[in-house]
């Protein structure tokens, strides 16, 4: 990188120490906590971070706000469980087919929808996901409204049917690590710059020779593949998917808000967002859900409102601000 962007040696060293410590903490904490419910929340954080990070490629870096990513999630989830229903495969073996279907769908719908600007694009993605949901609901071969199930009893380890949430945590975490490494590599190279330029001013980017349509489509393809894989992993863990839980609009929105909360278009934003949202949702539900008063969502919603009110750019904004302050004080 250029002279201007090379961090000074002590800061680079500090960053390495911080990174290694964070990684160690991420790897070790579930082993130190014995509570399975907490471990499971950890696994769900990873799952949410996976889908939000996949979304982040298109929605964050390229700035194309898709609210229909559940389409790809559903492809993965359904491919896994249909593979079992039709051929008695271990659910995870359906994942490649889910990814293939997602890529195909992304290719077909990507070109026309990525032409659309702003809200029109978002609405088109919603419409596409809803279309998929309605088609599945009305297609008995795809499980219809009833949904499809995985193996009731684990047959082999390949079924990924574990009593403890720990294996899920580490499996999801490893896939997330691959995705984040890719994102990191991408963000530092031409593609990352081009996607951010497209987000900033697409017309200006194109005048600088950025083939916007091609890059957006490529981002969508990678994003779709990882979102689909997330769906397959989800289905393997849950052993059940129906049109609402696999293709419902709420899931798309949750990918968006997890990324937005942590900071869209940043590497760790979706992970940070998920690490806040998922435990918050589960904890408020555990604490207040049984009361039946809805206070669960009042608290959950209010915290989201407060974050958006005080850090509209996501929590990454606070981080940048703190770092800027630190630099100023240090320098």
């Amino acid at each position: 990188m250029s002279a201007a962007t090379i961090p000074t040696a002590p800061r680079a060293a500090g960053r390495w120490v911080l990174g290694v410590a964070a990684l160690a903490a991420l790897l070790a904490w579930p082993l130190l906590v014995e509570d399975e419910f907490i471990q499971r929340i950890g696994a769900l954080v990873m799952l949410s971070a996976l889908s939000a990070s996949a979304w982040n490629l298109v929605g964050g870096y390229a700035g194309q706000i898709s609210i229909g990513h559940v389409l790809f999630f559903g492809c993965g989830a359904y491919a896994s469980l249909l593979g079992f229903t039709w051929f008695e495969w271990a659910p995870i073996l359906g994942a490649p087919f889910g990814i293939a279907t997602s890529l195909l769908l992304a290719l077909i719908v990507g070109s026309p929808t990525l032409r659309l600007k702003g809200h029109y694009f978002s609405m088109a993605t919603i419409a596409l996901a809803e279309l998929a949901r309605i088609v599945v609901v009305n297609t008995p071969a795809l499980g219809g409204a009833v949904g499809v199930s995985g193996p009731a009893m684990p047959r082999s380890v390949l079924d990924l049917s574990f009593i403890s949430p720990l294996p899920y945590y580490y499996i999801f975490g490893s896939v997330l690590a691959v995705l984040l490494l890719f994102t990191w590599w991408m963000s530092r190279g031409r593609m990352g710059f081009y996607l951010r330029a497209i987000r900033g001013q697409e017309r200006a980017a194109r005048s600088l020779g950025v083939p916007a349509q091609r890059y957006k489509l490529f981002a969508l393809l990678v994003s779709a593949a990882f979102t689909s894989l997330t769906g397959s992993l989800y289905a393997a863990m849950l052993g059940f998917v129906d049109p609402d839980s696999g293709l419902g609009i709420l899931l798309s929105v949750k990918m968006v808000i997890a990324a937005a909360l942590g900071g869209a278009g940043t590497l760790f934003g979706p992970l940070v967002g998920s690490a806040i949202l998922v435990p918050l949702e589960e904890m408020t539900n555990a604490a207040f859900g049984g009361g039946g008063t809805g206070i669960t969502y009042v608290v959950y919603g209010a915290i989201i409102v407060l974050i958006s009110r005080f850090a509209p750019g996501g929590l990454a904004e606070i981080w940048t601000w703190l770092r800027a302050r630190g630099t100023r004080r240090g320098g």
Partner: protein, 248 residues
């Protein structure tokens, strides 16, 4: 490509908005090394014509050749690849990126690897005098710096021809002089320039050839000083403003 062939040539360009012909059969040939000034009253069609040249808009009829290739229907990114760069009337910098990163986006066109692009961007930043703000978020810049950044970003694509759309509008006289200097230095690097400008001073002091638009047509072209004395031009456009003696 023969040396005497035009670098960029537009023939009989027509752009219609409904029944209104914004550009109505305009033609223009630009040779390598020229500085062309496009002038004309508001709504004369010069901006629309400019956007056709830049590949931003496709004409209803007519053809555009860039370095011997037909680019009438080519995308803006293909224009960039062929060595045409532009700035925008309303600066369109990437607000969330630093100045250096903005310039890198342009540099990536010829330097696919990040390290090379960064080095190339550094050179352009030094050339355009943006070094002091290189690390700043470009969204925080004022208008003069944004305009300069636009030019820097365009230069980073290493163009043969640079199209500037009112790059000097809204600047103070001091800033205008600095900008004129920059344009001269760009030209000195062998880059052909097309400038759309309202400020006559700029056209008169920079342009080799002025092209006057009125009602979608090219009504006159030639040396700026001759053109501004053309009676037809005076009547169509310059009118009162010419009574003021242009500065030397």
């Amino acid at each position: 490509m023969a040396d005497d062939a035009p670098l960029l040539e537009a023939r009989d360009i027509v752009v219609a908005f409904g029944s209104f012909r914004a550009v109505d059969g305009a033609s223009l040939a630009i040779r390598k090394g020229e500085i062309i000034g496009l002038i004309g009253p508001n709504g004369a069609g010069k901006s629309t014509f400019f956007n056709c040249l830049a590949g931003e808009r496709q004409p209803a009829s007519g053809s555009i050749m860039l370095r011997g290739r037909d680019v009438t229907r080519a995308s803006p990114e293909d224009h960039a690849l062929l060595g045409l760069a532009r700035s925008w009337q309303v600066p369109a910098v990437f607000d969330d990126m630093s100045v250096h990163e903005n310039v890198m986006v342009g540099a990536f066109l010829r330097h696919p690897h990040a390290a090379e692009a960064a080095a190339a961007a550094d050179q352009v930043i030094d050339f355009t005098g943006l070094r002091p703000v290189a690390r700043a978020r470009s969204g925080s810049l004022g208008t003069p710096a944004r305009k300069r950044l636009e030019i820097a970003r365009a230069l980073a694509t290493e163009p043969e021809i640079l199209l500037l759309d009112e790059a000097l509008a809204g600047l103070t006289p001091t800033e205008v002089r600095a900008a004129i200097d920059l344009v001269r230095q760009i030209h000195a690097r062998g880059i052909t320039l097309v400038i759309v400008e309202h400020v006559m001073e700029v056209i008169l002091s920079l342009a080799h050839r002025a092209v006057v638009f009125n009602q979608g047509k090219v009504i006159a072209q030639g040396a700026p000083r001759d053109v501004v004395q053309d009676p037809g031009v005076i009547e169509a456009y310059l009118g009162r403003s010419l009574s003021r003696k242009p500065p030397a």
